[in-house]
């Protein structure tokens, strides 16, 4: 099975080209990190994979679990097992976290032709996963991200990931705005979730996050494409000398 294969992907927004013959292959169970200077197209890549309709796909192919990802709409991609942890999770006052997450997991289960999770089982699952992330029960009674601190928003993204159990999780600069303690909690959450069936694409500016997560591959991205790939040592090189040498 081809897990994720992006082949010569070209993407633009309002006529401006952002991704430029972008290629990457991620296999089941692998953790990939993409680093790159501001404006190189990292967040665009994350959003295009999640199905954001603001972008125009000019050409290229994206195969996810043997299916053409570009044929699927936003929710179909999520139901198929793709999860994007947002850089700036949006506040939605009035939409309560618990019923929203239950509706999310049930839409996925329905798509997989599995029985929906009942209220009691879901409450147990949510409580267990929230406790592991140090999220209080009170927080689960609130509206989505409303009044959350930066760290709380990111922890809540990890909670959603742990509930929805995606095959591919994309983290778009999850470390931005996090202090050291919050970063540790978030990365521990990610590490707890890792196994041989789950894959990750981590987008970041900093080596610190990768020190906690230990990616299998690190890629450097510039001007909409990957220009160099390697292991964790590549992150250390960037930390030391910046992107000037790439």
């Amino acid at each position: 099975m081809i897990f994720l294969n992006i082949n010569n992907l070209n993407v633009s927004i309002e006529g401006k080209k952002i991704l430029n013959d972008f290629n990457i292959q991620i296999n089941e169970g692998e953790v990939h990190a993409i680093m790159g200077p501001n404006g190189c197209g990292k967040s665009t890549l994350a959003n295009v994979l999640a199905g954001n309709e603001d972008y125009e796909i000019n050409s290229g192919k994206v195969i996810f679990k043997d299916e053409d990802l570009l044929d699927l709409n936003i929710e179909e991609r999520a139901q198929k097992g793709l999860f994007l942890a947002f850089q700036y999770p949006v506040e939605i006052p009035g939409v309560n976290i618990t019923p929203f997450l239950q509706a999310s997991i049930n839409s996925k289960l329905k798509n997989e032709k599995k029985p929906e999770i009942d209220n009691i089982s879901f409450a147990k699952l949510l409580k267990k996963n929230a406790e592991e992330l140090g999220i209080s029960i009170d927080m689960l009674k609130r509206s989505i991200n409303t009044g959350f601190s930066g760290g709380e928003k990111k922890r809540y993204e990890i909670l959603q990931m742990s509930i929805l159990n995606p095959a591919l999780s994309i983290f778009d600069e999850t470390d931005s705005g996090l202090d050291v303690d919050a970063l540790r909690v978030v990365t521990e959450g990610i590490n707890r979730f890792k196994d041989s069936k789950k894959s990750f694409l981590i987008i970041t500016h900093y080596q610190k996050l990768l020190d906690y997560i230990h990616p299998n591959y690190v890629h450097v991205m510039r001007e909409g494409r990957i220009i160099k790939s390697g292991d964790i040592s590549l992150a250390a090189e960037i930390e030391k000398s910046g992107y000037q040498n790439f």
Partner: protein, 408 residues
């Protein structure tokens, strides 16, 4: 029939028609309307009103013995059925309800006049054919449900007086069961006496052939509280104009409304709160969700008089436009003549938040359901203080509205 012909042919049918003073006032109002020829440009009361609905309509009103009824469901729950503007006269230790009598004429003349430029109120005075006097006695705690039944083709011009006496605590509900092709021009004059607490919920849900022009003028005395919540799910035209005067210290008032419009429907809203005393708090919040080619407007006014120090006054309007063809015009106004006040106003109108929609969909929720979640959340906070039964009414109406989105 034209406005002139209605006036000439039916002038003897109206309440207080034998009174010369009122006859003169009616004549003056009639001449004023004719002279100005419904000058829409300079009159807020006519915004989004179809002039032909006022200048030409079939006036029809006759007393029918349809047994309007007051039901005392238990010691605190009353249900009052008003049929074509008439009620059953009733009195017990808690309330007095009766149809307007000739001796109420002075109350009618003395009613607080916030509406000098309001043509709808002029029409109410000219064609007045019914009215109810409510007296809610001191210290009572009641839930009162008022059901307005209007029969086919009736034109109800009603002027009501409600006195909420000292220390009463009342949940008051208005429901409009309008059958077919009715015109309902209803004006409330409400007094909320010292330390009285009134929660007034208004439910508007009727078919497209009906029209409702609902106006209220409320005066709040010292330490009283009046909270009005209007929920408009009607397919027919609705005008909600509500005024409050805070005349006693530490009085509190809120005028809140939610409306849900679709197809070609129109509604027009205005709220006006006048602060005449110190330490009063007011809140005006209207929210609308508009689909298809629907249209709405909302004027909100807060007036703080010179002696109303320590005032708090808040205004907010929010609208979600579901198509490019609907429109919502909002105009908040603050006029402040005291120097120690806290006042604010805000207005946000636009399409559904695409970022929120993207976020919900990225968690596997389909676009239609995500849209419903966002729209429900938009009014969720306005439902918090409703009792169980009222929540069910709103929830059912909201579900119907949201389901109609799926049909598009």
């Amino acid at each position: 029939m034209t406005f002139e012909n209605n006036f000439i042919n039916h002038s003897k049918d109206y309440i207080f028609s034998a009174n010369e003073t009122l006859a003169n006032q009616r004549e003056q109002s009639f001449r004023k309307i004719l002279k100005n020829n419904y000058d829409k440009k300079n009159n807020e009361s006519l915004k989004n009103i179809t002039i032909s609905d006022l200048s030409k309509f079939d006036y029809f009103y006759k007393y029918e013995n349809k047994a309007p009824k007051v039901s005392v469901l238990d010691s605190i729950n009353y249900e009052i059925r008003v049929v074509n503007g008439m009620c059953q006269n009733f009195e017990d230790d808690n309330i007095e309800i009766r149809n307007l009598q000739n001796y109420d004429f002075n109350s009618f003349l003395d009613q607080d006049n916030n509406n000098s430029d309001d043509i709808i109120i002029d029409l109410n005075k000219i064609f007045l054919n019914s009215g109810i006097f409510f007296n809610i006695k001191n210290d009572t705690k009641l839930n009162i449900r008022l059901i307005h039944d209007t029969s086919d083709n009736f034109t109800v011009f009603q002027n009501n007086f409600i006195n909420f006496k000292k220390n009463c605590e009342i949940n008051f509900e208005d429901h409009f069961n309008l059958s077919h092709n009715t015109i309902n021009n209803i004006n409330y004059n409400t007094k909320v006496e010292e330390c009285a607490v009134v929660k007034h919920n208004i439910f508007q849900d009727f078919s497209s052939s009906n029209k409702l022009y609902l106006t209220s003028n409320t005066v709040c005395k010292k330490n009283s509280s009046y909270n009005q919540n209007t929920y408009n799910f009607s397919k027919g035209f609705v005008r909600n104009f509500h005024n409050i005067s805070l005349n006693g210290e530490f009085a509190k008032a809120s005028l809140k409304g939610c409306f849900f419009l679709k197809d070609e429907n129109i509604c027009t809203n205005k709220t006006n709160i006048v602060h005449n005393a110190e330490h009063c708090i007011s809140d005006q919040t209207y929210k609308g969700i508009l689909n298809h080619n629907s249209k709405a407007n909302y004027y909100s006014n807060t007036f703080v008089s010179e002696n109303a120090q320590k005032t708090e006054g808040y205004q907010l309007s929010k609208g979600i436009l579901l198509t490019d063809h609907c429109s919502f015009f909002s105009k908040p106004e603050l006029r402040i003549f005291a120097d120690d006040v806290k006042c604010s106003h805000g207005s946000t109108i636009g399409p559904v938040d695409e970022t929120a929609l993207y976020y919900l969909r990225s968690r596997g929720i389909n676009k239609n359901e995500a849209m419903k979640m966002i729209i429900s959340s938009f009014i969720e906070e306005d439902l918090q203080n409703l009792d169980h039964q009222a929540r069910i009414i709103i929830s059912n109406n909201l579900t119907n509205f949201l389901n109609s989105l799926s049909d598009d």
